[in-house]
Symmetry: C2
């Protein structure tokens, strides 16, 4: 479901969004977006770092910034390590994953349950601005065979 846009597009978007915040377009930031653009599945900070050549702390700092700018989305598979995916320009990145409990293979799930459910829950409890986080776990075909 991830929208893998063109490098140019990415760079232009990065430039535009950074400019508005007095932030700079640096090598590491471009490299991280490049790496994420190539990957179809979410990557951990360490995986990104291993594919690059810049400090791990810089990867974390950049990812945080890119997340704040809504260019990257953070996912949590409950294993204590955050994963990051690139967001396209008009993509809010809302989707879910189906993760294999054995081999960690990830499948992206486009559909989601109806917004009514979320709205009802918000209303019932008086909460505002409700969002959700949903991930699926199971055994992938290969791991079932093994």
């Amino acid at each position: 479901m991830a929208v893998h846009s063109h490098p140019r597009q990415n760079l232009a978007e990065l430039t535009a969004r950074l400019r508005q915040r007095d932030r700079r377009i640096t090598g590491p930031r471009q490299l991280i977006l490049d790496v994420l653009r190539r990957e179809e599945h979410p990557l951990t900070a360490r995986q990104i770092h291993d594919l690059l050549d810049c400090d791990l702390a810089t990867v974390y700092r950049s990812l945080r910034l890119l997340e704040e700018m809504a260019m990257v989305k953070r996912f949590d598979f409950g294993d204590g390590t955050a994963r990051f995916e690139l967001l396209g320009q008009n993509d809010d990145g809302h989707h879910h994953h189906l993760v294999c409990r054995e081999c960690s293979t990830v499948v992206e799930i486009g559909e989601c349950f109806s917004g009514n459910f979320e709205n009802r829950i918000a209303r019932q409890h008086g909460f505002a601005n409700v969002s959700h986080r949903l991930e699926f776990f199971g055994l992938c075909p290969e791991c079932q065979a093994a």
Copy 2:
């Protein structure tokens, strides 16, 4: 939605389940169940530790054991800290939470989307044994006022 059973019942269950595994009924294990029984919301290992008087490592070890024995369920609100809830005897503990992004107030959500959704996803991708993790986040009434 947590079923808060009687102390006796808990102890009996604990005893029975531990016996079958050659494990012992120790003070810390009983204390942890006692603490969890009193709380209606999930607690972190540290919170449990602060209410008790035993080593934090023991709390972690006990929680892991109790989780394996399906007497306790682990939840992940995506803040890097696991929370634990007591499970009742016939309770599989499947439910969700609505967590305030500001003050971390937790509301338990009993209902869940239909199993069809989960089944369809499993079938579509050839996965077996599919489960899911779903949590809601929003602003609670108090924090909206503030």
